[in-house]
Symmetry: D4
Subunit: 254 residues, 8 copies
Amino acid sequence: MDASDLEALARAVAAGELSAHELAERVRLDAVADVGYAQVDVARGLRTGVSEVVYGEGKRPEEIAGIVRAMRASGQERILVTRLDAEKHRALEALGCALAYHAEARAAVAGELPEPDGNGEILIITAGTSDGAVAAEAELTARFLGNRVRCVRDAGVAGIHRLLRHADEIARAQVIVAIAGMEGALPSVVAGLAACPVIAVPTSVGYGANLGGLTALLAMVNSCASGVSVVNIDNGFGAAYQASLINHLPGKAS
Amino acid sequence: MDASDLEALARAVAAGELSAHELAERVRLDAVADVGYAQVDVARGLRTGVSEVVYGEGKRPEEIAGIVRAMRASGQERILVTRLDAEKHRALEALGCALAYHAEARAAVAGELPEPDGNGEILIITAGTSDGAVAAEAELTARFLGNRVRCVRDAGVAGIHRLLRHADEIARAQVIVAIAGMEGALPSVVAGLAACPVIAVPTSVGYGANLGGLTALLAMVNSCASGVSVVNIDNGFGAAYQASLINHLPGKAS
Amino acid sequence: MDASDLEALARAVAAGELSAHELAERVRLDAVADVGYAQVDVARGLRTGVSEVVYGEGKRPEEIAGIVRAMRASGQERILVTRLDAEKHRALEALGCALAYHAEARAAVAGELPEPDGNGEILIITAGTSDGAVAAEAELTARFLGNRVRCVRDAGVAGIHRLLRHADEIARAQVIVAIAGMEGALPSVVAGLAACPVIAVPTSVGYGANLGGLTALLAMVNSCASGVSVVNIDNGFGAAYQASLINHLPGKAS
Amino acid sequence: MDASDLEALARAVAAGELSAHELAERVRLDAVADVGYAQVDVARGLRTGVSEVVYGEGKRPEEIAGIVRAMRASGQERILVTRLDAEKHRALEALGCALAYHAEARAAVAGELPEPDGNGEILIITAGTSDGAVAAEAELTARFLGNRVRCVRDAGVAGIHRLLRHADEIARAQVIVAIAGMEGALPSVVAGLAACPVIAVPTSVGYGANLGGLTALLAMVNSCASGVSVVNIDNGFGAAYQASLINHLPGKAS
Amino acid sequence: MDASDLEALARAVAAGELSAHELAERVRLDAVADVGYAQVDVARGLRTGVSEVVYGEGKRPEEIAGIVRAMRASGQERILVTRLDAEKHRALEALGCALAYHAEARAAVAGELPEPDGNGEILIITAGTSDGAVAAEAELTARFLGNRVRCVRDAGVAGIHRLLRHADEIARAQVIVAIAGMEGALPSVVAGLAACPVIAVPTSVGYGANLGGLTALLAMVNSCASGVSVVNIDNGFGAAYQASLINHLPGKAS
Amino acid sequence: MDASDLEALARAVAAGELSAHELAERVRLDAVADVGYAQVDVARGLRTGVSEVVYGEGKRPEEIAGIVRAMRASGQERILVTRLDAEKHRALEALGCALAYHAEARAAVAGELPEPDGNGEILIITAGTSDGAVAAEAELTARFLGNRVRCVRDAGVAGIHRLLRHADEIARAQVIVAIAGMEGALPSVVAGLAACPVIAVPTSVGYGANLGGLTALLAMVNSCASGVSVVNIDNGFGAAYQASLINHLPGKAS
Amino acid sequence: MDASDLEALARAVAAGELSAHELAERVRLDAVADVGYAQVDVARGLRTGVSEVVYGEGKRPEEIAGIVRAMRASGQERILVTRLDAEKHRALEALGCALAYHAEARAAVAGELPEPDGNGEILIITAGTSDGAVAAEAELTARFLGNRVRCVRDAGVAGIHRLLRHADEIARAQVIVAIAGMEGALPSVVAGLAACPVIAVPTSVGYGANLGGLTALLAMVNSCASGVSVVNIDNGFGAAYQASLINHLPGKAS
Amino acid sequence: MDASDLEALARAVAAGELSAHELAERVRLDAVADVGYAQVDVARGLRTGVSEVVYGEGKRPEEIAGIVRAMRASGQERILVTRLDAEKHRALEALGCALAYHAEARAAVAGELPEPDGNGEILIITAGTSDGAVAAEAELTARFLGNRVRCVRDAGVAGIHRLLRHADEIARAQVIVAIAGMEGALPSVVAGLAACPVIAVPTSVGYGANLGGLTALLAMVNSCASGVSVVNIDNGFGAAYQASLINHLPGKAS
């Protein structure tokens, strides 16, 4: 859907052939910028409240640059590209596609990060220092989506007092992202202390039998604590995305 | 922690030996009603905002009755017992432990269901008629926890128009619980249409290679749509619990 | 079986020692060009209607060149070599075995691609841009086998309108190849919209718990939509091969 | 969509407010008979060329009866209910829902089986006598959908001559359904002899390490023969459904 | 090896044909009571310090009775039979093989339980009430092997204060058996609080994705806390057996 | 192929239209007794040296009786039916199909067991008493196929001396069948002591993490000892069958 | 907790506001040195009797150096860093963080190894030469933690006499660490010969179906021998850690 | 055990202190050359009839050289080292340890290959050209152990006539090694044609869902043909070893 399409729709409304509601629906469902190798969902912001994010893995720099261009052409100023290694980032710059690179998060951002506008604060907790990259991806994503974020790293359950000393932050959070590899026990303990939803992220950190994170994932899905749900292995982005949705929900109508 | 303990704490506050905040903390963390085979977490309501729920599976009727008694003794009037088959429910009644039984949900409730007091509405969608029992558990749990609930059943993706005709309800929901067996594709499509978080529940419905629901679980965790997180197989309770947490979060401080 | 063998058989028919039918059977079942490390099935075209294709993975350039030579010697002009990386292709050229290389498809072709002679059109749909290499292998294979092909890329179910805008092409296709990684939901939605068979190809694209494509494979096998069957992970060749068989079946005898 | 809806649409066409094409589209995508626990896809025949089939497993007799009633009310005379055990069938009859029961296939049919109208013949081959129930489900489904069917049972690869004696039937088939448990080798051998697509059905027949059919499924997906695709474990219905789609495709436009 | 064998050996020592050490070795390695269907290891007490225990599962009552008889004949007065359901126990009694039955532990004992003679106390902790049967098997085994035992039930990590209130018992234990199903997080938290070895027992308690206890097992093996080792699913016997070995080790030679 | 077919072939040889060798080939490859639900391989004895055996599981009594009848009609006097429970055996007798039943082996035999005619002795060793049923199936199969058999039960590696006391029998065996559940370690130790091939049979005996025998199977396939190969879980028949083939091989031509 | 915190506590004791016991408890549970990316558990020695060890994998050299500095600052002189490859060790040295490197064990140590002070001797046995690196990690860890260690390498069960010749050392050990890949049978045989606990370590050594050590892990968990517990794949550190705990337990109070 | 040990034993026999049988036993069970990192089983030839083979993977060149030296010192002239890549072979040569390298088999041999002395011929069949390396390892091993070998490559079941044309070789073989990746169907078909044992070797050749060979392994273990047993993935050595044992068994005593 380009400008002329939108204009045509508007004219139809003016002519009484289309209601304003119908126009909105058409835009909501049909807007795609087709760049050949990708159909960019340029109206995603209208539909879901969050602009489309580019998943960088498995895409060539030329493809990423083209998608970014299409998004900008549709008016999206702030763009996040995840799973982007440093080499690909350099290739993007060579293609004239300038993005600010965040190394630990393996992600890049076009435009400024917004002012936080969520209801409360997202608390990100990791079990170990080695879970740092996943936490960084989650933190950047959450900030990109307009959230205030607090981070506590290395608070795994083997030294439970390292976690309990953060009990107040846990009690005050609007939503929590709990990140852990190995046996993935952190979210269970956190959810028992919290009054808010906990999004659990299993990581691929650990000795052989963590099976690339599958053990932590299964453990988290089996959490004995209520209030825990789980995203994919090492998927800091996905957890932060859902946390942001939760943090931006409307309060009680009154 | 029994009454005398609490009194002692109060006297300490009166004497200036303890601040009010400390008393609250002590109650928040230490209250357990020990009935031998169980340590009932009677102050869970204070700590997490939701009273403890009894998971009926693997517990003998005598144990369930004892736990219910302990919860009532601590002042909890409204109690939910999940995973309770009809036979065990009859055994509970024979023990003088009266609970209203909900057959499709395989759960029982003591006390009245509360008036809804959440921010918005929880939408429960199932992919097929065979997912009914899980949906019923989710619906009862959500109502028990004070939520308004809307249900759409049998809206699986193989007939996508059956889902699209509910697009408005999807767009208006505060939080969605999407329930599906087989390939578990429903949450991905729903999340693409929604502006709110989607809690996905895999079910054990399907032919051999759904592996008792594991296939649906893995598929949902891999959802290509952002905004999806996942709970355990057939765990309608867990999904509704987290949905309720989300639906009761405070709105923006202003 | 070389020419003299065939001649001998024919003489036997002439002499009444062999029926014409028997001659055909002997050719159909017994023709093998033995090159030591391989028994090339040079009469496969007679038997199954499709000439043998060379699977390049795990074979040394010398072996591939030898097999190609044997096929040409048996009269096969048009040859497809799949799973051939660029380096091996260069090695083949150095060995004097000239083949046109298709980089995205990681495959090479000897001879011209034929004119399409199938009944209708094969539609190839991918869920994401990252599934491109598999789609390219499927497209090249289908063209090599004499099919008209249409491609739609990046039409995953998380933005269902990106798929629905191609509903007409889906309704008109003779057979569809649906390619998706992550949760593999695309074929289910497509099959619900189509009136023709859907061959599903799981890909290894996604975060950790897609288990190298196994999750997508299992999900596709569990499709809630009728009319879906599944091939191996990343096996664009296999899907296109079967699609071509379907597209070349005889219509109704009348 | 009920009759009055359809009438309203028709009037709109008469009034020039809707084209005939638009009416067809609306019917194609929007027709659902909502019976509470199910949204019956009553226009599926229009959309995909095949009427909806009822999957009986996990549905209560009352639900099945209601769905059958809704389908009949929408004008569908011929109805197939799969995965229906004898006891449930008796319960249906007690509810006044009369269906002809096919015991080996564990399925029931309302109305007469149609005259075959496909392009050719579907050949169903099983590896062993123990695969009989799956073959029966496939055969009934194929006949229900208007196909001529030929069955060869117990032609497993351990006695290859039992298969080779059917080489002519294999060569003449329009599409083949190959059913096998244990190591699932049958489809590979069949596909090497056939010139048509082979739909493979893994079964749960075998000693411990067949893992309830998962081993056969994985083996079939890995078939070294081109032209094989796979459906779910024991899913005779799904294989026959796709085979029927293939057998009813239009031939070459000329 | 019966008495006459032993006598013969002794005479050989007297005659200088065998050293006393050799006699001990022969007894240690060669003593077996062969009852046809079993080779009872009657000298196991000499060799490992613990008498052989009878694993009741998969053995017919006649076989168990025969083995018990052989053990008694070799002088063993105190015998433990594990995994013995109530019905089999009754069958044993009917065969004149009297054993005291412990229903929750599904085990039976011949002879009196001994006075505790270990170095300290074994602490058994369970995560939930539903883990009771495994705890009972562990407790009975530990007492049978001469240990003082303390039990804490239902101290799962979702209510961490239920565990912390037992911090002193944890700190004082000589060895701990930690029993948990679902995500199996309990041993990690316990080991962080303890100064002694923790033997973890995964149980088959939980929703679908605990995979019959495999998830808990894998999680425990991946424990982020040092000092944890793991036994088989639901294997309360095995954990208590090793705990007893640890509790009976000699202290420092001085 | 019935008698008249064979006669026709023979006449053709007499007439010089067929060589004797061709006749043998035809019989060897083409003989099948088709009873509708089964194609009985009546010439299997000619081809592989061992008559076909009936796998009883998943077959109805009528089918088994029909297959036995067909085998007898083709001249096979001695027939083994495996995986036959007692109830099915009674149903066979009611159908007039008399077979001698072996309860522990869950198998039945028609005709007399033959005199042993193998080269040496087959040694069957089990790890535990609970592996008895698998051993019984193996022993009966071996005797049915004409082998001398020796059995050692309950010689698991946890009491290594129970195994070492049979070192001589191990050293003298012509071929060994080693049967074990749990960790499946027995074949490794046996193969280290033996000079002959060891066929390993994993059993489904054990606590939860033996995964129905899969753990033992994988362990045996990974045996650190050379000379071990493995058959399916609980497949005593398969192990004995291969052991018999080995025991009947021709010695050195001289 | 830094020095001023401790001082404050001490003053409170002096003032009678805190008992000495309370001070100890506070230190035991609350001491953490927060270095941003890690919360170093500096009082772990007080709590569990063993100082914290640094797991080097997944941490950057700067992070490791910072953690080591924090530990030294808190008074810990002897520090072990595991899973440290040679390159990272050189980077540490370049950062001025000097540690003695042990190449086979892939670990480094700060400070002197202590005099052994355990109750007895830890015996480490490996099945094969290829398990050497895991044994080296276990040995270094055990020595670091104050244990006398004896090593027997390459004593796998396929040559059982290689193990039996060490029967005396096995009988005399205080605790045994048994290390094996492939089928993981070693611990079962060892435990049958020993009177002390056996900690089993599965390794990732072997052909394809050892599944990266998972097969050995599952086999060891299923050990038919009592007295075996298991740690993670290749986790020589974890086994030695628990062995050291066992070797330092107090003997019988008298 | 060195020469002086043997002499001492012999003197004991001479003195009547030891029987000749005992001497043999002692040599059979106790001979080990201890080189520190390995206990070389130098009398394995006496015990099992086959000299020890060196598994090269995971061993350093120095270790391999040392083991070879120890074997030579004990009188073994002919030595096989498997899983030896070209680089390690060069390192061995640099250490003065000269071995003839076989590149496709990734193995090396010291000394001359022996004259074949088995009873018959070992037939090695592969399904595809890509299985060549495994076949080469099997062939070299079989020749090293004194067998006559025949090889048929690329005879997979997708072109069944490629296999049937070798039916005579299959019928004449003494033992068959059948090697296949992908779905692993080859051994089933071969065993149906053969009268001798078939050792199946799964390979890691194939697309994604062959799971590194696990699919082929499971399929082969589930073979519907009797007479098949299975070794580890890609384990050409193991299959040939067992085939050689079978080929060297004594014939019938007469």
